[in-house]
Symmetry: C2
Subunit: 370 residues, 2 copies
């Protein structure tokens, strides 16, 4: 039987794990690197992963676990490679937004019995490629059977206590920033939906491609193969010295949702540690949002409010962060970023629109189970 | 609306995470303990969990991740509390079989949108109760939507390098042992199946209960609420000094499967580190297996070979371990265990039956995706 017809059920769990081990060895992830001097004692398939680390009282162990479910997270157009790749990205993003160094990744994969072996192999390749890109060794995991593809990953890392990037701790006047343009993934999901469901999709896509085909390609790429802002997280972490004040989080449920999240987090921190009423808020400016005119035009043709894509969808994986004003110039010599607003004294989360109107931002974002 | 009718979709992901945080605070897991002096900086719901640990070059970071899927792992009779409880047990068991101290547990939960809030609460209580029992703080996690209940847990711990209990490293003549009686969970699954599917189930259950109702009750309990052998793992770890030789693994896919696993693991270790042909094997003795006569009688009435339950089903979570002969007496003063055989010179995995016949043991065990 050609391997293109073989199903995973012909191998079974043990041989599939063996296959993962073989594939991971053919990758470069076992090289020591600048960040990690590691030595993996056990192989994937042992009871537990044993990893050499050095974490003393100056550092925290950092850990994050996210699950991706085919019917919720993978558009029909997504390849198995991209599914595997994304499962690493969503977890590395959580570590990157703390400024953590990566230690290891555990992969928990559940797939239908009749999954083609070729598709399984592709998925594993996606995982390994991402582990390689983000310098995070695949140290353990498991395979199981389920009715659809479910990938649960856990990323483990460490971070200097003094440098860890929290969601809270900003002050009035601090600049609110993002590490890159948002809304591309959101537009991508819209386009994929059109391509799946709309009989007139070819017409529509041709029309918007004539405005700017790069935007279309980028939107679809960002929807299917997002990247974590690993370098940016490290740069911010390195700047997070006693003289500076930096907070950060990654944008997954939409900018608006994250703005309310950081206020909520900062408020809790305030209530636990300080006296008096909490009075911080956020103001962003439509004119400062990095959105190309062609993007707005494309959204318009599709009958979508571009601001909705920018604020309320998510899956961008860019970093939302705050810095003290003094840091602005020095930071821009080390990384690209956009200042989109600031921390205010008022208790609101608002946007100053291009026409001058000030509007409260709805906290609406993508929320599972609602 | 009474809380007994409320669905999780009425709260959504963010409020559900808040609910988990509240429930976990009402537990005793934040007390420092003999094993862990920990301080959890972030709360569940933050980008990543930050944990104080101290792991230097004398210890390994230990991590394990296992997923439980409703249609594969949860009998219909299992309560939501038991589902949550088991999700911790399967992961703590992997750490216990290395002799690790627990650091933290990450919970990744996917549930159908129309799950009753009461059932969600019960599930979380099960998780928290288990975390409490095994002294492993709930440090992070996530909730998602899926078509059935899927729980992916990750347990993180640490172990002294010199004491870590591996699967390999035993020598000819070493005693093969188990930490407790097997086959109860296997019997339990059979009984639950009968109770679900067999119209004559009441008759059958009454008949076998008249032989020994304790066995029936224990079987069902072990199937629905297994426990990890945490204390036993620590005792073995403490005995694993330079003067002794101890290996260990936990029994999840069935004793036979694990016997082949440890031989395979030891063979790989031998091939990487030693010269010459690999010549170790295992012999166990039917007469040494701890099985009560009433258990055998019950299996007989059900038309099941009790040895099949003992060897080929699993979900026991007992430890399978080897010790050098000299350790036998001293160890028995600290823990209960059963010597069921020894490591041999031959290349076989065999059983000496009560009638004197020697049979090769089939490696058949429970294997997903086959």
């Amino acid at each position: 039987m050609k391997s293109s017809q073989m199903k995973v059920s012909q191998l079974g769990e043990k041989q599939l794990i063996e296959r993962i081990i073989q594939k991971s060895k053919s990758c470069s992830i076992y090289k020591p690197s600048d960040f990690n001097d590691f030595d993996i004692k056990t192989s994937i398939g042992d009871d537990s992963a044993l990893t050499n680390v050095n974490i003393d009282s100056n550092s925290y162990l950092v850990s994050s676990s996210d699950m991706l479910i085919q019917s919720s997270h993978f558009p029909k157009a997504m390849t198995h490679f991209q599914m595997g790749y994304k499962s690493v990205v969503v977890n590395v993003s959580d570590l990157a937004s703390m400024g953590a160094d990566n230690i290891g990744f555990l992969l928990n994969l559940a797939i239908p019995k009749d999954t083609l072996l070729d598709d399984f192999d592709e998925l594993i390749c996606g995982v390994i490629q991402a582990c390689d890109n983000y310098n995070i060794p695949l140290i353990g995991g498991d395979t199981n059977e389920a009715n659809e593809i479910i990938i649960s990953g856990t990323a483990i890392g460490k971070v200097d206590k003094e440098r860890a990037l929290m969601k809270y701790g900003f002050e009035t006047g601090d600049l609110l920033c993002i590490s890159g343009e948002l809304a591309y993934a959101a537009l991508g999901f819209e386009l994929l939906k059109i391509m799946e469901e709309n009989p007139k999709s070819k017409e529509i896509i041709d029309k918007i491609k004539s405005i700017d085909s790069t935007i279309i390609d980028l939107a679809i790429l960002k929807a299917l193969k997002p990247e974590a802002k690993y370098e940016e997280g490290h740069i911010l972490r390195d700047y997070n010295t006693n003289n500076n004040r930096i907070t950060a989080t990654d944008i997954t449920d939409g900018l608006a949702s994250e703005l309310y999240e950081i206020i909520s987090s900062d408020k809790k921190y305030h209530q636990l540690n300080k006296e008096g009423q909490y009075t911080k808020g956020i103001r962003i400016y439509e004119d400062k949002l990095p959105v190309e005119d062609e993007f707005k035009e494309i959204a318009n043709i599709l009958g979508i409010d571009y601001l909705d894509l920018f604020l309320h969808v998510g899956e961008d994986f860019e970093l939302l962060f705050t810095i003290n004003k003094e840091l602005e110039e020095e930071l821009s010599s080390d990384m690209n970023y956009y200042i989109i607003g600031e921390i205010t004294e008022g208790n609101t989360v608002e946007i100053v629109l291009s026409n001058g109107d000030i509007q409260k931002i709805s906290s609406r974002g993508y929320e599972h189970l609602k």
